[in-house]
Symmetry: C2
Subunit: 332 residues, 2 copies
Amino acid sequence: MSEAPHLTFDLDEPGMTKGYLVVPKGADCEALSLPVFSLNRGEGPRLLITGGCHGNELEGPIVARRLVEWLPEAQTCGRIIIVPVLNPPAVQAWSRNTPVDGLNLNRVFPGRANGSVTERIANAASRLLLPMADTVFDLHSFGPTWDFPPATTTHPIADPALMAKTIKMAEAFKLPMTLVWESVDTAGMFDTLAQNQGKVFVCPEFGGGNVNSEALVIYEAGIRNALIALGLVGGKAEYPTFRQRKSSQTLETRRSSDELKSPAPGIFEPRCSVLDEVKQGDLIGTLYPMDSLTADSIDIRAPGTCIVYAIRSGAHVNIDEGVALVARPLIR
Amino acid sequence: MSEAPHLTFDLDEPGMTKGYLVVPKGADCEALSLPVFSLNRGEGPRLLITGGCHGNELEGPIVARRLVEWLPEAQTCGRIIIVPVLNPPAVQAWSRNTPVDGLNLNRVFPGRANGSVTERIANAASRLLLPMADTVFDLHSFGPTWDFPPATTTHPIADPALMAKTIKMAEAFKLPMTLVWESVDTAGMFDTLAQNQGKVFVCPEFGGGNVNSEALVIYEAGIRNALIALGLVGGKAEYPTFRQRKSSQTLETRRSSDELKSPAPGIFEPRCSVLDEVKQGDLIGTLYPMDSLTADSIDIRAPGTCIVYAIRSGAHVNIDEGVALVARPLIR
């Protein structure tokens, strides 16, 4: 190992400063220099904002860059560290996982100093960025071939006080949906590492794969609302308008049983919209098997009363592949 | 070579019949059986409708299947052959090119009987389907990471009579845009082969990468309008509604000079909508370079008066990669 991960500047400087988080080179690639922006207004909440963990989720990096433009004027107290792109090789390749080693950055935390490049990024972020914050916003998107409303997500947390605090923070974004997502696959997540250290960690999930101006306005408004709730900036929080509605709801879902799966291989056409409330038997979508002369299209219907929060659009699916995700109002 | 490409049924049978177009096996994969639907009402126009040439353009296969449901009742004369999926290995992989040999089916026509699988598909279609038709609708989509209005496209054709006939057919879809697209890369296209045989060949280009119900309604309406114009079904053609407008315009574009390119690597955010008319200096989009601390965002502006007909959304672009395509009204 040639060097340790380090920052090229002092995060403790007052005001806005910037520099790089250097991820050391390894056997698989040269050293990476990740742009880091530090906004230090002294005492107050300590917030870390990261984007570009997955390389095909690009709303986060854009919104993070925009924050750098207006936050220095608006911030009244506390400290904010912004890293628009946590995984540059993945963003440049428009690929969820890092192309160099094929790893998912959000499954290798806390990383390894002498591991492959994805593990070295996780190690650098865990050692040098995470200790500076008590709250983390990790900006994700739902990715291509799904429709998904602007939302904040979190996972169930064993500590009830931290769970309540995290849901409250997630709801402060005032995005159309706040989702508590029971996941079986949380090992190595940035979330889990931060929560194990008692930090509040919220993932905004930013729509589908396509960046557009309307969605960016909503997402930026959501983050501004959260910054207001933290007391880092002044102003009044407002619900952004999404598909003619100004509202928000908090839902819970289980990763395994709340996934509607395709009964056959074919092309899936969504027949309802995200955030639609459906009853048992309502039409969710239609599957068109493409390989036979006799198979008619197959209707996929709701298993019970629920809210469709994500729906597949525009991909050939295999048998048992997910086509829709459903949830119910969170019971507290 | 084990066998010749063949149909498992007789296309000359009256009424609706169905069977497979068998593409023989080769060194690279087993034989393929492509579902084919034949609707024979005797004398009249002879139309071939194909979908799924590119595997990540899935509106075409769905609309083609839907036609099979209602056309047998509605058709009044002539012959229609429908092949919802021309390239099953590509559709199953949601991949533009065929994964087996990496080839673009729409660049290998007329194919080769003893070639790789993509060439064998082209050969089978050229020999057994194309001779049955005097008009071809090849159903494409613009693919992921672009926004594109429902449209029909054609390329400049040397024969002025065939060009005029082709534009008239393309306009009969009454979709928001009819585009004459000067392309430098026409060798091996299905279009070129058909046009060299004096046939009318139109490509509907069906929006971006995501299939949704609203877009499918527009596309199906466009094909219905074209079937009415051909006299194959009765009824009255109507402009479908696209983004609150019921209208259509015919444009021309040059593939090389009408492409706006990115001045640097970064994430592109569209700042106008497809079919917007812009003047010199109007904002088209904003590029966010992600690798430096000093580079501000870069505005990309219109080079002159033109209509933006395709715009990039949601991908990291390299320097000199296309971010928008523009056109002007067709001069006849």
